[in-house]
Every structure is written in C-alpha cells, then in structure tokens.
C-alpha cells in the first residue's frame, strides 16, 4: 500500500464482452486533486489490472473524442470528467455495441472491416 497520507477513492468499472452480461469491479485508486476519470482508468491498467479495456488516444487534450463513456450515468469524455473524492462508476456508452469492458463500437460504419467484407460479398 501507499503511504498513509495517500487518499484512495473507489472507482467501479463495468466489465465484460456482452452488454447483458457485465460484471462490476471496484478498485481503490490513489487520488490526486484535479485528476480525470481517464487518469484513474489508466492507473488501474498500469497498477492493478492491465487487461481492463478502454479506448482513448489523446489522453488529456480533449481532441480525439475516443474516450466517451458513461460516468455515474452521464455521457462524458473520460479525459475531461474530473474524478471527485467520492469516486465514480464507469460504464460503456448505452447506445453502442459493447466490444469489451468500456470499449464500444465507435468507428463510423464505413471504416469498419466487417462492413467492408460484407459489401464485397
């Protein structure tokens, strides 16, 4: 464990390969004032469970818009949503197909391999 002063906050993520069969898993994440929800998810990947799937690219520039997820029931960009000392529950977007954990099928359909193969059949 970290030093005593290191405050941790509970971050709960929904995990699974199928929207109808997701399990929640909670992690205690060290809290740094000002940190984003994505910072917490990256911490989980780096220190607790690297197999957690999240989609992101620009990390904190709010540019790529790849990190859309549900944070406490609201659609948010994980990289700009701030983590509060109360922690957060993070789930995949509701109107998209779940690929794995927090990752949904965000790519436009004209940029998808399955669509390309279907169109060539």
């Amino acid at each position: 464990m970290q030093g005593e002063e290191q405050q941790t906050v509970p971050v709960t993520v929904m995990r699974g390969l199928d929207r109808d069969d997701m399990q929640s898993q909670s992690f205690d994440v060290p809290f740094v004032p000002g940190m984003s929800v994505l910072d917490a998810l990256i911490w989980i990947r780096g220190h607790a469970d690297p197999s957690l799937a999240i989609r992101y690219s620009c990390i904190n520039a709010n540019a790529c818009k790849e990190c859309s997820v549900m944070v406490d029931g609201q659609v948010e960009y994980a990289c700009t949503a701030r983590l509060t000392p109360a922690g957060a529950t993070v789930a995949p977007l509701e109107n998209k197909t779940v690929i794995r954990d927090l990752v949904t099928d965000l790519a436009p359909s004209r940029e998808r391999l399955d669509k390309l193969l279907a169109s060539r059949r």
């Binding site: 690297p50 690929i99 794995r100 940029e111």
Partner: protein, 576 residues
C-alpha cells in the same frame, strides 16, 4: 484470416496519411488507408493546437527560400537540404489547397489576408493557425471529410499493422490485426506508405497520444530499411507541468507566448534566460533546444519551480487582452482553477517530436523498394532541431508527394505478394495469441509495467542530458528488456486485447529505443536537441548524418555525408 489487395497501402491516418491517400487516388491508384486508432483521430495531427509554418508572404515579405534558410539554421547544419527544400517549397500550395477546402485559417480583421504570427526561429511572420487553438483539429476534420469523399480510397479504423511483408528485397504488403475482434488481415500492396507518426511516447514526460510509440520506425527497420538522425527527439521546453490540467494539450502555452509574450521565471521568480546567452524579457524568441537546456540547468542548480520546472507568468497581461487572444480557453483554465491574472503555471521540457526517422530520397522513397514514408515518420528535413510549425507543413507536403510518387511508381505493375513472405509475421501472431490464451487465471499482465520502465529509462538516461555512461547503461537495459519480452505475462481474449496490443507496441518501441540510444552514444558532441554533458561543444567533424539499420537481427550504424542542394537549381528542377 482475411486477405485484402490494394495498389497503395497507407499505414496511419494523420495529416500525412490522409494526404497521401488522396494524392495516390488522384493518380488513379486503388488505396487502402489503415489506422490502429480511428481514422484522423489517433495521432499528433488532431492534437496540434498551434501553427503551421508556410511562406505565403501575406504579412511580411517572404518566400520559400527564406523559410528554407531559417529551417536549415534551426537544424544546426545537418538537415537533409533536399527534404527541407521540398517542405518549404511545397508548403504554400498545400496551405492554399487547405484554404480552398475551408479549413478556416484565421484572417486579419477587416481584410481577407491570412493571419500569420512569428514563431521562434522564423525571420518573418509566417505561421498560420485556426482559432482558438484549433489548428490540428481543423486540419484533421477537413482531411477526414475530403478523404471520405475521395473515390478509390478505402478507410479502415482499428487496424493495427504488425509487420511489413517483403519478398526478394521488395516490400509487398503488410500483416495487420483488426483490434476489435482480433482477426488477422493480410494486405497485398504494390507500394506501402508509412505515415504512422512519431515515437515521443518512449519518454516519460511527453505530449504523445497513446499511439505514438514508434511503430513507423520499427516497421521500417524490420523491413530492412535505413533510419536516419535517430539521436534527435525534440524536447518542447515549456510543456505544462502543474497544476493538473485536463482538456488541453500540454503544448498549449506555446500559442500563449506567441500572442502575449509571458515571462519565463525560475523558482525564485527571476528571469534566467540571459544566463544562457538568450533574452526572455517577455519575448518568445529563444530556440527550443536552448530553453530546454536552461530549464534543466536551473533545476540542477536548485533554482527550479516546486514541481521541477520553471514558472510561466502572464499576470502582467490585462484580462481584456487575455480574453481577446484566447476567448473560451481562459474559461477552460478557470474551470481548472487557473486564473492567469493571478497565478503563474509551472512548465518543463517534454518530448514532443522526432526529427529522425525513415531515410528517404526526394520522392519519399525509402531505401527498400516498394516502401515510402511521409510525415513525422520521415527523418532529415529538420536536422538537429525543428522550427515550430514545420511539422504540420511536413506532414501535408510529404504526404502529398509520397502518395503521388508511390501511385506513379506502381501504375501498371503486378502484385508481388507471396504467402511465404507473410509466414514469419503470421507465425509470431499465432505464437503470441497462444501465449495470451494460456495466461493463468488471476495472473497480472506485465506489458504496462514494462512500458513504464522503458519510459523512465529513456527519460533519465536518453533524455535531455546524455552521457557516455548513462547511454551505455541504457543500451544494456534496453537489450535486456527486449530479451525478456517473450516471457512477459499477457492476458486472455481476442477482442480489443490491449495487453497483446501493448506487447507488439513494446517490441517496436524497444527497437526504436535501441536505435535512439545507439545513435546518441555514437554522436560524441552536442548539437541541437542532442546534448551530451561529456561533449558539450558542437564539433564540425560531426556535420554528418547517422544511419541505422537492422542486419541479421543486430542494429548497425553508419555515418553518411550531408545532402546539400543549390536552391536555385532546385527551383528550376521543380518548375520543370
């Protein structure tokens, strides 16, 4: 397994890749454009908030040869002059083309002239931008729309290219994985353009997206191609350090300094650039390499800011001026708890760009037939130190040229694909997949930790202040990490398996790290972004470029003479 065929395969869909795809299609080629992330979103292009350097002559008197002079001067004597000339010569055409496509370059109030600012190292106002801090997003959006409408271009998001395939010394295609379902895809291509961006993710403090781990360079190396100038990653001196700021890229203070000056202060709130032969005094003219050096030195002398950088202060700038220059950004800062009229922020050098890369000729051909490169993946145009704004010009200019050349070169030729050529890459994919599936229940994957270790090592020993001992140790550690790679614990699952993705990234990142470190070790002098504590002088006998390549699994390096040109001759040849 899925097999696709195309005339021209473009790997990476930033400004360079999207431009290359359009240019190749414009020559009648059938093009496949792949990105491991989403098309137009995954790399540096969409993150760029500042400017594009181009000699339009709309504000100050200017022409491409002046831009070239500035570029060569900033490059500290070792630019590939042909590539620099192409960059400066073609940039106005690309910038006007983008203007026609409604990218939205900022205009002077009251007239239709494109607004230009003067960025450090430029002798004229020649840096164009899109307000507010929207340059990269606007470029990415414009190109995404254009490429989407270009006949002949097929785009695929989420395709991670793992290896190029070669047959008889020629690149004939690539092996990729569709990240969302783990499906393996082979692609036969007559020409392959590497536009997969840079490597700044290798360093602990960086401005990189998660997809900037050096894949382009590693793919080229493994295909037998030459890389050049790998010892020159660029450190941006005033990356945001503290307090924690979300929703902005860490390079954001650069445009603030162009427009508003600002003061760079040490931990005692004193100006310090004069100690290093430059003036600050509220101006923003000192070159990147010298400012980075000065900040590190102030910290070494115990005069750093609390988080280990320097202060940047705009407290002397009236609020109306702040708002006029940056509008909504000022509110975003307030939301982050930063009131610029009251608070100084802390800044420090961060890895930001790679000057080195794939060695190409004036038509963007790599040293292996069938292979081309564009954008940040290319080495040479910026020498030992890049001028700000040159990277986006380079991406668009080289993208257009590479696309055009590749399509012309392969028109009417046949595919060279053979299954045997793809076999080694496919065998490795199988092997790693089998290992991932065999991961015991509850085992914690080690890829993320190894990434962190590599970043820390590169920052400490191959970063801003290099020494023979540090670099030698780093080389040993990098080789040990490569040797340990086959045994790293992975994680199960075919769909969006980031651990397997990271494992392949690491394979390439370690090859890049070795190339950077070896090159830095061999260059026993200081020049531009490459600063050796044990060889502090710039040594004229090192006015050469260093090439590295993989031979029989080992990196070898070779010094080559500079590429010089006569600008007048170049202009005539371009006109012809």
């Amino acid at each position: 397994m899925t097999h696709l065929e195309t005339d021209v395969l473009v790997i990476g869909a930033g400004a360079a890749g999207m431009y290359a795809a359009m240019a190749a299609a414009g020559e009648g080629a059938d093009v496949l454009l792949l990105d491991k992330s989403l098309i137009g979103r995954g790399g540096a292009t969409i993150m760029a908030q500042m400017t594009v350097a181009v000699a339009l002559g709309e504000q100050d008197e200017d022409d491409w040869r002046r831009h070239l002079d500035d570029t060569l001067k900033a490059g500290r004597g070792i630019c590939n002059e042909e590539l620099s000339a192409i960059l400066c010569h073609d940039a106005p055409a690309r910038i006007r083309e983008m203007d026609g496509w409604k990218v939205g370059w900022a205009r002077d109030p009251g007239n239709d002239r494109i607004a230009c600012v003067k960025a450090p190292g430029h002798s004229a106002k020649r840096c164009v931008y899109v307000d507010f801090l929207d340059t990269g997003p606007a470029i990415a959006q414009t190109l995404r729309t254009r490429v989407g409408r270009t006949r002949g271009v097929t785009r695929l998001s989420g395709m991670s290219v793992r290896d190029l395939t070669s047959d008889g010394g020629r690149v004939v295609g690539a092996v990729a994985v569709n990240v969302e379902d783990g499906r393996v895809v082979t692609v036969a291509a007559k020409a392959v353009i590497l536009a997969a961006g840079g490597l700044t993710k290798l360093f602990q403090r960086n401005s990189a997206s998660t997809n900037m781990g050096g894949d382009a360079y590693a793919l080229a190396l493994r295909a037998g191609a030459d890389l050049v100038d790998m010892e020159f990653p660029q450190f941006f001196p005033i990356g945001h350090l503290a307090p924690r700021l979300v929703g902005m890229d860490p390079i954001m203070w650069d445009p603030f300094r162009y427009k508003l000056g600002g003061r760079l202060l040490n931990g005692r709130m004193e100006e310090f650039m004069h100690t290093y032969g430059e003036v600050d005094d509220g101006t923003y003219n000192a070159p990147r390499d010298i400012t980075s050096y000065a900040i590190v030195k102030e910290n070494e002398a115990g005069r750093g800011s609390p988080a280990g950088g320097a202060y940047l202060s705009f407290t002397h700038v009236p609020e109306e001026e702040l708002r006029a220059a940056f509008g909504p950004t000022i509110d975003l800062l307030l939301k982050n708890g930063i009131d610029l009229t009251r608070d100084a922020v802390e800044v420090a050098p961060i890895a930001h760009f790679h000057m080195g890369g794939v060695r190409v000729d004036g038509r963007l051909r790599a040293s292996v037939p069938g292979l081309y490169a564009a954008g940040e993946a290319v080495g040479g145009a910026n020498g030992a130190n890049r001028l700000s704004g040159n990277a986006l010009s380079e991406a668009m200019v080289f993208g257009e040229r590479a696309g055009r050349t590749a399509a012309q070169d392969v028109a009417g030729t046949a595919q060279g694909w053979t299954e045997a050529a793809a076999a080694p890459a496919l065998a490795l994919l199988d092997q790693v997949r089998a290992r991932a599936q065999a991961t015991p229940e509850g085992a914690v994957a080690e890829t993320t930790r190894t990434w962190r270790d590599l970043q820390a090592l590169m920052w400490d020993k191959v970063g801003l202040m290099r020494t023979e001992d540090g670099l030698t140790e780093a080389l040993g550690e990098i080789r040990a990490m490569s040797a340990a790679l086959p045994d790293l614990t992975l994680a199960r699952g075919a769909r969006f398996n980031s651990v397997v993705e990271e494992w392949f990234e690491l394979r390439g990142a370690l090859q890049c790290a070795e190339a950077v470190t070896l090159s830095a070790l061999n260059r026993r002098e200081s020049r531009g972004a490459h600063q050796r504590l044990d060889y502090v002088q710039t040594d004229p006998s090192f006015e050469r470029n260093q090439v590295v390549r993989l031979r029989d699994g080992r990196l070898e390096s070779e010094w080559v003479a500079l590429t010089r040109i006569d600008p007048a001759r170049f202009e005539e040849e371009e006109a012809a």
